[in-house]
Symmetry: C2
Subunit: 223 residues, 2 copies
């Protein structure tokens, strides 16, 4: 665990991963970053096109120290990521956990957990890695699902591209706790506290043409 | 309603608001765009810094055909938005409504509603518009809250900057409905259907120092 090849426990802080404000909310340890990434399946992927920023919501998966996103071979980021230098991206994942209602409007806030990854995305060309990534993207949203669906065939693989982004320049930012009003506001007559935001799953709705003999799989009833 | 000053019912499509794939999912009408924006309070704001993309989660509000975000006067996007040409941004809002589980891995999808706004953000300098924007940002998350909290004082206003982004080059993208498997996959023995994702509010938790005589306001019990 202490040899030269051991994975360091934290990502190095860089000028663009150190926030200008609330530095105490930043975290660089792999465990915190991985936990935030593993709880989500949708990211917001930013790239630059003709000098202007573009931010698109897209599915992703984490496999070790790599993130994968996929897209049509004709999509803009995929075509740009296939170029020799790759595609400069910023991939952001955010959980909103609670509304924080302070007595002062100024101190209103959110409890949240976010991860921001900076780096260069490259198109994956090795067939085995493409398959691993596509399975991981399905399993990121519904663990166990990729093994219980028809894998991509040659035509589908030809239409799909995978981009890889290594976890190297990455940080988490986390706010927890209740409101933090200024002491002189303590006597103001406004309700103050935390409103938790909850997420969950509704009951699965079978497709109209599902054979009634196909039971709901365990990985769905467990959600 | 048909005079020269009437607001057109739709945003014009532009090269960067027409998607390369699934054009049938794109919408440009104001009602659809406003509804998606009004149901959220967190966006992912993209801008370019030193040639590379940056995507940060942040609160926003819609007031008519303007979006507002706020930040510390020292924050990077605020400082860049205060410059003469403003700050080129892409502001994206996404709701994920359901997981779509097809029989084929390839046709797995999400039901979602997203809005992508391209444009140039400018710092708001007029004091009345700053106040309107700050109130709107609080009310976007909790309607009615801004009137039931202490407004920002001069010191807080001096520390806070507001950026404005006009709704001009904007599109929505929406997927609804169930899985869309290829006909030849209909007999495969995999469960297929829709898993709704639900969002909601937990019971409000009063701050430790809240005077017990302060009742939970109606706008919170209504959530």
């Amino acid at each position: 665990m202490t040899g030269p090849d051991a994975t360091p426990p934290a990502y190095p802080a860089t000028p663009r991963t150190v926030p200008t404000r609330h530095r105490e909310r930043a975290a660089y340890d792999r465990a915190s970053v991985h936990a935030i990434l593993d709880e989500a399946f949708l990211c917001h992927l930013g790239f630059v096109r003709d000098g202007a920023p573009v931010v698109l919501p897209t599915l992703y998966a984490r496999v070790g120290e790599r993130l994968y996103v996929h897209g049509s071979t004709g999509s803009r980021p995929v075509r740009m990521g296939a170029s020799d230098p790759g595609l400069a991206v910023c991939l952001t994942v955010t959980h909103v956990d609670a509304l924080i209602l302070a007595r002062s409007a100024f101190h209103h806030s959110l409890n949240y957990r976010s991860v921001v990854v900076h780096g260069t995305a490259h198109r994956v060309t090795e067939a085995e890695e493409v398959r691993t990534a596509l399975d991981a993207i399905v399993d990121q949203a519904v663990p166990g699902r990729s093994a219980d669906s028809r894998p991509a065939n040659a035509r589908e693989l030809a239409a799909t591209a995978v981009l890889r982004l290594d976890l190297a320049e990455v940080s988490a930012k986390v706010r927890t706790g209740g409101p933090a009003d200024d002491p002189e506001d303590a006597g103001l007559p406004y309700w103050t506290g935390t409103v938790p935001l909850v997420r969950g799953y509704g009951a699965p709705v079978p497709a109209d043409d599902l054979d009634p003999s196909v039971a709901l799989p365990d990985y769905l009833s467990a959600l």
